[in-house]
Amino acid sequence: MQLAYYPGCSLQQSSALYDVQSRRIFSELGAELVEIEDWNCCGATSAGKVDDFMAIAMPARNIGIAERAGFTEMVIPCSACYSRTLVAQQRMADDDGLTSEINAELDAKVNGSLKVSSILEALEDRIKAGALEDRVAHKRTGLRPVCYYGCMMTRFPYNVPVPDDVENPQGMERVLKALKIKAVDWNYKTACCGASASVNDPETAHNLMARIMKDAVARGANCFVTTCPMCQMNLDAQQEAFCQENDIEARLPVFFITEIIGAAMDIPPEELQTDRHFIDGTILLKELEQHDEKGK
């Protein structure tokens, strides 16, 4: 089967590893991610702070392109892109005037037939269809991740159909359960990492991330798992700094959900570019691999 795929800007740049992983994992699960043609930036949260009309118009063009190509579902791994696209679609569905104003400027008009899916929804669909059973090796079950959802997967600035519980989402836990990996329960799964504040207001962002880190460590997790490239980059690249500032000794790798699935499938971490983390994730995976060997 084929699914429309919107990578977004960060999956083509600093989080290119997530692009490689998403394509690979979906292909292992029997679905091809087809990148939509000539897509544009979704505007991210910045557009909402600068220009309300553009915050809807920018994702609208991508929806139109996917619909014109005949797709019924589009997968968006980046949480911010997913949120902006879902909100834009709902805003247009609720406002015909706005829709025609935007459509007037678009080559590919929006008609509202596309289902916009987060990576978790699409993964869960594949798992429900039984695609994981043939493929999963149930390796690295010694992973003890805390599932970190952040903001954009769960909370939206507009009333949209939310696929998971807003205060205690379970999508990632369900995926991990299918892999026989036990997620660690904790309090900060939907807390904010500070997003762009890590650049423009680092003190605030570091305070927020230190709290997230402290709970993860106190609960005995050995890694984070997330779906959001912004959360991943922040917790990974800033970890050394905010841990030093807050006397936290532990360091935890920050994995994308796709890397955890890859590990359970016994895909070598290098093939998924897991060696591109600031906090080296390959050490933990190698330890667990040796553990798997011993258990044989």
Partner: protein, 204 residues
């Protein structure tokens, strides 16, 4: 620090409240000050005494000056916790996003210029090229930061920023997380046409 008395201004209150409600799409009159938003605010420790409920009260009572110019408006990270928990379905983050734009339209200097510059540079890059180029927009953002600090003769701040960003850039390059190509969407003409429409809408 205690909250300051709000400057009540009935004449100004009605048009200001209406403008914020229209632009944000939020019904501020529905707020009954339960403070669930304040309890859950991610940046509550960073905004002095400003909480989302207090911001709403300031708008309702017409304290335009402080509503447009406070730490919460600028430090709000748009995590949308307040709006998700509001019993009256008010998305306060949409209000902070709206007040930022209103402050800019009135040429008020932003309380947190780095934050304002960041979002401007990001959106400008996305619209100009159709896709955001991380190095280009970060470069534009850092240039603005440097110019502002040269004017203020804050050379130490520039040096600290250069050190931090250069360190991060080096590490990202080592880890092959720096992208040296350039992203462009051909459809950026459509995006620019939409932006012209957005500007026309704003003037009507």
């Amino acid at each position: 620090m205690a909250a300051p008395a709000i400057d009540i201004n009935p004449d100004q209150a009605q048009p200001f409240l209406k403008e914020v409600m229209d632009r944000s799409g939020q019904n501020l009159s529905a707020c009954y000050q339960c403070r669930r938003c304040a309890a859950g605010c991610s940046v509550g420790d960073e905004t002095d005494f400003f909480t989302p409920n207090l911001l709403i009260r300031m708008v309702v009572l017409g304290d335009r000056e402080r509503a447009l110019n406070n730490q919460l408006v600028w430090k709000c990270v748009s995590c949308y916790t307040c709006g998700t928990r509001c019993p009256n379905d008010i998305q306060t983050a949409r209000i902070t996003e709206t007040l930022k734009k209103m402050a800019k339209a009135e040429h008020l200097p932003p309380l947190q210029p780095k934050i304002a510059d960041f979002h401007d540079a990001f959106v400008r890059s996305g619209i100009r090229w159709g896709r955001v180029n991380e190095m280009e927009f970060m470069g534009a953002y850092e240039m603005k930061f440097a110019l502002r600090n040269i004017k203020a003769r804050q050379f130490g701040a520039i040096l600290d920023e250069v050190k931090t960003q250069a360190g991060l850039g080096m590490k990202m390059t080592q880890l092959r997380r720096m992208h040296f190509g350039f992203l462009i969407a051909k459809g950026r003409k459509e995006i620019k046409a939409l932006q012209r429409k957005s500007k026309q809408r704003a003037t009507h």
